[in-house]
Symmetry: C5
Subunit: 360 residues, 5 copies
């Protein structure tokens, strides 16, 4: 591999979350299903208007009504905090259960008091050459957006800076545009991850063609798993955005539709790229198997050439090593030379045969 693009392709998670622990609780019981995590939950409030911007390192509800407020919470393992927020925004217990369940399938739900969006955030880690996945749940209501994340760190940096620096139309728009901007930012990072995967597939294709190793097929199988995983994140997202486009909600304004249409477009493009990569990855498997067969052919050729040349000549040498009392050739004056001549003829004949067979 000339350049390190991606370590063995995988979605990085410290441990697989276990859903089974929630089996014996009643529906609507909020229990954290995710990678074990301890420590403080990090919260943040950003409030802005066309002429205004402020930021707090905690949840602040007491802000003027005409500002757009973005409440962000990193860490959904703190069930009590979840419940308190759930109460403030009147979130249905079944939805809070979904927020705390990091294995939740992406989906959109329209409730009278809010729109709920679950989405899988993908980010490419430039340093470790790794792809990471994190679930974000978003609540949209009038002038307010709430985001729930699994871990600290997200892909919303450019959104924050556009708000702070008043870039684009975000400061002059309402909370639905912020809602869109977050989804758009998630989709943009899918593009980055997918571009890296595309580069990785190219490098792996060269590796498999030139020097297939046992590990190569393991990589192909890993790619398969990752692409299945990504597909399972994006397919439901397309459905979600399609619903955001079609269904009526008082929190989604008509002028934002063009933006969701653009996001829908990107979503389709991501899906098509993933499907292409799945097919290309299947092709890598075929290339691997054929490279291995090809190598076996080469090994067999070497064995066959050497055996075919020397086994008959060894037989000839064996004959004149016999101890019969009367072997006339042994007493010929040039017997030994004739032996070498016969060997040379056989050798040349076989070489010509193998040249003809294109084995040499």
């Amino acid at each position: 591999m000339p350049k390190k693009i991606i370590n063995k392709l995988r979605i990085k998670r410290k441990a697989a979350p276990k859903t089974s622990q929630t089996v014996f609780t009643p529906p609507g019981t909020i229990s954290y299903v995710g990678v074990h995590r301890e420590g403080e939950v990090v919260t943040e409030t950003i409030a802005y208007g066309p002429e205004h911007y402020e930021k707090h390192d905690k949840i602040v509800y007491s802000l003027p009504n005409d500002y757009v407020k973005w409440y962000n919470l990193d860490g959904i393992h703190d069930i009590e905090k979840l419940k308190k927020i759930g109460k403030r925004f009147d979130i249905h217990p079944l939805l809070l259960e979904d927020v705390a369940n990091t294995t939740q399938r992406p989906k959109t739900e329209f409730y009278p008091n809010y729109v709920f969006q679950c989405i899988k955030m993908i980010s490419y880690d430039e340093k470790d050459h790794d792809i990471e996945q994190e679930q974000v749940s978003i609540i949209l209501n009038e002038h307010e957006v709430v985001t729930f994340q699994e871990q600290t760190g997200d892909v919303f940096g450019s959104v924050r800076s556009r708000i702070e620096n008043n870039h684009g139309r975000i400061r002059t728009s309402d909370s639905d545009y912020l809602f869109y901007a977050l989804i758009d930012s998630v989709l943009d990072h899918y593009f980055i991850a997918i571009e890296k995967i595309g580069d990785y597939l190219d490098v792996l294709e060269d590796e498999i063609f030139n020097d297939p190793e046992k590990e190569s097929l393991n990589k192909v199988q890993n790619n398969k798993r990752v692409l299945i995983n990504l597909r399972r994140s994006v397919y439901p997202l397309r459905e979600s955005i399609s619903r955001l486009l079609k269904e009526e909600s008082r929190f989604l304004q008509p002028q934002t539709k063009a933006y969701f249409q653009d996001a829908y477009d990107h979503c389709i493009q991501i899906i098509e790229t993933i499907e292409s990569y799945r097919e290309i990855n299947t092709g890598l498997k075929d290339m691997y198997l054929s490279s291995v067969s090809h190598k076996m052919n080469q090994i067999m050729q070497v064995l066959t050439i050497i055996s075919s040349i020397f086994i008959p000549m060894t037989f000839l040498a064996g004959i004149y090593g016999m101890n019969f009392e009367h072997i006339p050739e042994l007493t010929w004056e040039h017997g030994y030379m004739y032996f070498w001549i016969i060997c040379a003829v056989m050798f040349v004949g076989l070489i010509v045969f193998f040249k003809f067979k294109k084995w040499l």
Copy 2:
């Protein structure tokens, strides 16, 4: 296999039920199609209200009308008992036939006096590392739920305890919530089983990559069978829950819809996981075939290296074992040493060649 997760993956059944025995009976004839079973049928009645809870080890019909009553019957091989219950709840003979047929496809039917649900219950046996399947038929009417099971033992323990201990909203809800809670509990156990299968696929992937044995592909084929079987249990269930969401029935109250929506969500997630596992399992087959090819390559390399080195040298030794009267080399003073030098040169040359070919 470092840790025992699952014995050879299979749906455990003592024997395959035979449908053919029902061929010569008229439609609507109730005949038990299932694993042979003898002995008493176990029955149970649980009745509850917001302030009330009682439990009986038999079917008790004479309970107050405003209680929610859950009648459970373990053992559908007793046709007479089935018929008696069928009469009490006015169940159509064709449905009773389905109750007694353990090969029935999951389905929902809306009748004027009840809703009928057939479902496949999956449970993971922690002790035997085995997955078991059992058919449950559920009848829902006003304030009453009837469940018909094949065997003693089920996945409804948490429902029973929530009723007894008044956890969640079950005691304050009507029979349709109980109906939902049973389906939800079945779905929760699908998640457990599927999680175990996922772990098993990981272990099997390592086994196949590191040390593929003949048995490995048999395991892959068994996985295929189990995943086909699970898919056949869950796909119709999605359709069932979708109908429970969409069709009108006086036994299903509007406020329960949000719960069925959640169950539908889980059902989709189970289906998507099964489909992913099917693809991963197909990948295991490819890995197996390539691991076997890789092993063959290694074997061939050893054979080729040893043959290629020793066959030519044996020929050389054969030459100087010949009995020609005039072989000048034999009389040279350092002939024997020269022989060894030639052998060493050939040996080193071939080793270099194999190093170059990356066979060593």
Copy 3:
């Protein structure tokens, strides 16, 4: 194969019928397309009511109007007879052409004077372990059912006995229930055939895993053909029954709908089982290929082990068989013993190497 379940799986037909002979006739020309058959056509009339039952070995039209009449004709090669019946029941020439064409695709057609059903009857022959297929065309009108079969013998024995012995509700129902009962009986025999195929696949799986023979893959290919054939018989049947459920016809009474719903259910179950078997059969092909590869590996291991052990030792023996005048070892006192010691060391070394490689 421990037990004979099925001879080489195939749909038994004496010869493939040729459709090409009908090319030069105008549409609506009735010409027999089927396995060549001579001899009399066997006919039968069964007439019944709640209190009445009679049976005749010929077609009898002069029976009381309020009886349900079932006219059965075994042998559609007698075009004249077909035409006469066609005239009596006013059957469209294009439909009569379909009746006589045993390659007709299953279908339902609604005409003002009758409902037409074409269906493929499958029966498992217990004696020959064979699956047979035969086309049945059914005409339903008020109080009358006509069945056209290719050959003597059918799967309607249980229907006949239920009529004769007044089992179930058949005697108290009209001709549409008889129509249903015939279709139900055909479906029941699909279940039997499919159960046998399932057992056969299990046996074949064991055979392929334990002792793959060249014939095995031929069996897999035959299974593929049979399952394709069955699928082509059942898929259109689902569509047919769905139309019988949905379309209005004065010959189909509302109370029979529940029965057709049940038949539809069974049809879906048959289709799903066939699809499962097709996937399992594909898995058998993979197992076969991998079993063959595994066997090749074992053969190569034996060859490599024996060659690797003896070829170097043969070289060593060759050296001391050389006739150089000065080979010091030959004159050593324990030379021969040293030779054996070296051989033993090489032998043990290689055995250890092969143990390490897990080839032994």
Copy 4:
């Protein structure tokens, strides 16, 4: 191959037509896209009524209005003739472009003055064992049908003879029945071609099973190409006939619908057969690969058996060919006999081992 059914399966065309030459002409420019052809265009007019029949070897427009007229033109390379006919029947330039383009996809178009049908005619050549394809475009208006063919020779012989000899209902029907009869005749010849392909697949299956040659897989690939080609001809035809059944046109009379329904039926059956053959053909590929693997196994067995038997014994002979001064066995009285006994024991032991391994 016991009997010649089909030469290497292919759709016979003298040369691939090139569409690229039409790139630089405006849309609606009529240019011949097809196999190069020179010489006269053959034309023919058949006019008939219930009591009337006449035939001319040229296009005759001046025939009584109440006759049905069929104008046939063999040769669409004469653009001027096409344009003249196009003008007489008021055909849209884009449709005339399609008539002259032999790579046009089958389709139906409804215009106010006519119905346009493009169809691919398949014919099996009994003499050369070949399948030929030719495009026919059909124009239907009141009392008139025009057919445009690529080459002389078609599959309409039976239609012509039915008109001439007044067979069936064609003489008493209008031009829409003639239109149907032509399509029906094309479909009938698909059945013949498909039957031949089915027979060919059977023969090829036996060839691959018993004696796979390198050429065999080439045949399988050719079948794949032909079946793809046929599918591409018939799938759009189903759509076409479906439109002829559903859309209103004053040129299609209600009583002809039953006939188009029958044609639709046949079309579905052809499609299903082609799909089955595609699956069976895929199975042939698998059989070929496994037959080749099986043959390799047999070759390896022979090599392994002979090597395993003789290499160790050759080592033994090598030992006693050594020239050590003190090899005690050489001086034993029965040494040579003991040598043979050891060889015999080794021989028998290995034979037993190979019998046990089922390699012998």
Copy 5:
């Protein structure tokens, strides 16, 4: 390869464009995503009417209103120019972002002031035997068409010459016909590229069958990538044209619909051809694997034949090379001749055996 049709099949691009650079900009920010390019943007204005034609090497807005104006811009890397044109035609910032993004998926959007079409232009380079792809965005409004291209050079030569020389109906039609003519021209060049790919697949099939090289499967994998790429360009185009046919827009006149219908037809045909080629390409992969297996079989046959003949005879020679004191055969008068007779018998026997096995 007898004739050079296509160099290793690939879509030629100097470098893969990177979408990731657009991540940190707000939606609607126009940033060039494409192969790096410097230098002047080339612009062109063509204006025409039935009696008029003029051409300018720059954008000229001040032309009479009743002319049809075609503004062409080669080079979308100049963001300022894009913005200026965007302003003149009132193009939405999100669409301008798509114009500058060469990875945009083909699509059609209807805005009140214009119709937007993104399309992928394919051209076959006769000189380099290469296929090139370029994105074109088209804006249609009343009497005006704007085209945005990535690079200089396009497939619109025939459209330009038809305008200049007044061929066909383009000069007498409005801007919607020009819009159609551009799309039609793009589709025509797809046909050329696809024809070349078809020829290339034929040549590659012969290469793989006759002389499979390691490079061959790489070519097959490249074909797969190209066909996936083409499919991703054409599938959305079908959807686009279908929308142009169905949706109302004041810029699309009814009489142009027949032309878009024809384009739709061509689009379907291109898609079907691509799908066929994908299947044929998959067949090539199977042929390659089987050709490689076949070659291995031949190698193994040579090895086995030579080993089987000479190894036993070498053993025989070894026996009579032993130094036992009493080997009676050595003293026989014709011992040496008998040895040769035995060898000849063994040789002939093995040759007969291999002939019987069809290995010779």
